[in-house]
């Protein structure tokens, strides 16, 4: 479709032609954003290209292997100080094209926005986690991992977040993922009904209970004694022996 002047469309650089992709900018407009030329000087090897979309939004493409250093510099350099991470997400254009990881940065002191992107080929969906820079990236990266299957190196807790932890159908927001899921409705129902919550909701597997979780019971001098994790010798039973309810570990059962 054409985007002639008049009507509601205003003149937007970069989105004018139907080239199928955003048009790269002439030299002059690059200076409109003070961070972009500085970034280009600092990381000449990692800086791939620069685009302006939707009128005033600056997007910088960087080498995924240097992404962490670029973001670290953007955050810590006092001239730029992008101290606020708005968003981490990814875009899949489909058709075997590389996935884009998108970091939306904001500098509260300078009131500046910058979008940093890295293109990951489908064969190597891996990038460094930015949780060491912004703690808020923790859940955002988990969501990207959950939805796109991009692995974040050195992430402290890379688990699925929105989908169940036992979800086996893949990563839903990828373009090759069908809208209704990979399994048939019957198979999905069967899996949902076959789920035993204990299989993956045993607290010891989750972490918070790891220090103290009782994993079994053994007889010592005729009395059942709880076995903590790491102490067990041989496969312990998960339930206390019968007749030992007054020795149970749950404090709630010792009410007067």
């Amino acid at each position: 479709m054409s985007t002639e002047a008049g009507s509601g469309y205003r003149d937007v650089p970069g989105s004018a032609e139907t080239t199928g992709a955003v048009v790269s900018l002439p030299e002059g407009l690059e200076r409109a954003h003070p961070t972009v030329p500085a970034l280009k000087d600092q990381f000449a090897d990692a800086f791939l290209r620069h685009e302006v979309v939707a009128g005033d939004e600056h997007v910088v493409f960087v080498d995924p292997t240097r992404l962490f250093q670029v973001l670290e510099w953007l955050k810590n350099d006092p001239e730029h100080a992008y101290n606020y991470l708005s968003d981490v997400t990814a875009v899949d254009y489909g058709g075997g094209r590389p996935l884009q990881v998108v970091y939306q940065l904001y500098s509260i002191p300078h009131r500046r926005v910058l979008r940093v992107k890295a293109e990951l080929p489908l064969s190597a969906l891996e990038v460094d986690s930015v949780v060491p820079l912004w703690s808020g990236a923790n859940w955002l990266e988990r969501e990207v991992y959950d939805m796109f299957g991009i692995h974040f190196r050195n992430h402290p807790d890379l688990r699925r977040i929105l989908m169940p932890e036992v979800y086996a159908e893949g990563h839903p927001l990828r373009k090759d993922f069908p809208l209704r899921g990979r399994f048939s409705r019957a198979e999905q129902t069967r899996r949902a009904l076959a789920q035993a919550p204990e299989d993956y909701y045993v607290p010891s597997d989750f972490g918070p209970g790891r220090d103290f979780q009782v994993v079994g019971w053994q007889e010592v001098g005729g009395e059942p004694v709880p076995v903590k994790e790491g102490e067990a010798s041989g496969p312990p039973s998960r339930r206390p022996p019968k007749g030992s309810t007054e020795e149970g570990t749950s404090p709630s059962t010792t009410a007067p």
Partner: protein, 425 residues
Amino acid sequence: MSNKTIELEVSRTPELGMDFRPAHGPLQPVDLAEPELRSERMLINVGPQHPATHGVLRLVLELDGETVVRCLPHIGYLHSSFEKLGEYRTWNQVIPLTDRMDYLAPLIYNCAYAMAVEKMMGVEVTERCKVTRVIMMELDRIFSHLLWLGTWAIDVGAFTPFLYAFQQREKVYKLHEAYTGARITTSATRIGGMMADMPEGWDVGVREFINELPRTMDEIESLLSHNAIHIGRTQGVGVISAEEAIDMGLSGPNLRATGVPYDLRKDRPYYDYETYEFEVPIGEYGDCYDRYMVRLEEIRQSCRILHQALDRLPDGPMNVDDPRIILPSKTDLMNDMESMIHHFKLVMEGVKAPPGESHFSVEGSKGELGMYVVSDGGSKPVRWRIRPPSFVNLSAIPKLVEGGLLADVIMVNASLDIVLGEIDR
């Protein structure tokens, strides 16, 4: 292990009442010493079906006595894959999905999505539409904060403010219904304008509402702000510093309560917000009480903006005059071949956005609400991403509750003002 039994003894012989039955006397414990308890940590599970979690949120808490040692949130119970569904719908068909995310402030979500798509397409909406959207967004900020205020009061143990707040909320429901026909699922915006012009007298209704609201706010404030129980349960609870809050990505009132005056309406103004007179309230200590005070003041500031917006509401068309975006009028459709073709193309194919992308953020009621839309030139989004403010705010909850008491978890959770529909999406 020894279990010490606490013996209870009735101190006085129960006296006989008028009905010749023993009146219950108070039970006096003989020995007030605490029983010997083993110092073992306990895991408790809060939610996902618990009224104080404000939705289907599950928190696994590790307790040492009554102190929370570790907190592990689990989300995803309400996951509806809105972002995936959006990729199978035309640009306008996505709008009904947006208000189902945050059903406490649906109009803000409608507007934010339409604004992001319009920015990507380079569409400039009319002046009347801009002011109408400002009215809608500020109205729903009040709408959302009132619900938060009511449930917050319930969580702190006060019931009356809940009723006062919901009485006022009902008026906003009525205004929603008068404009859009729906109380919650409004779907009020379209790409390039609104679903309709406002009905006759709707702005008068808004004006009546904001004229009455401050009196109710005064009443609620007099019940809560200096209430000893409220202060005792919220001051110094769930404290987070400004640096930590920025590091965690908090936004909205939760960030401003720490003293950071980051408000998108001031910092990155859209829709001429820089021409409205209002102030951004900030807190000092970053605790639950400051978050309460900030939201309370935001309601009053939103009233100020609403007064100014209603004053300047211009006449003129609501929708852009572009047949490629907006459906023609019914009269034109019946009489004019060209309009009929446009109507056919729009209904069958939908609005077509040129290739490009946009990440547009508005100041939502919960925080920075970003909409990231990517188009490849077709009539459906390649990617539609919501930057969910509640999602990021909730990710800070382990930091806020660890080291505090179990009872404070409820207050911290209430003070964050989350909505699970938007967290799980």
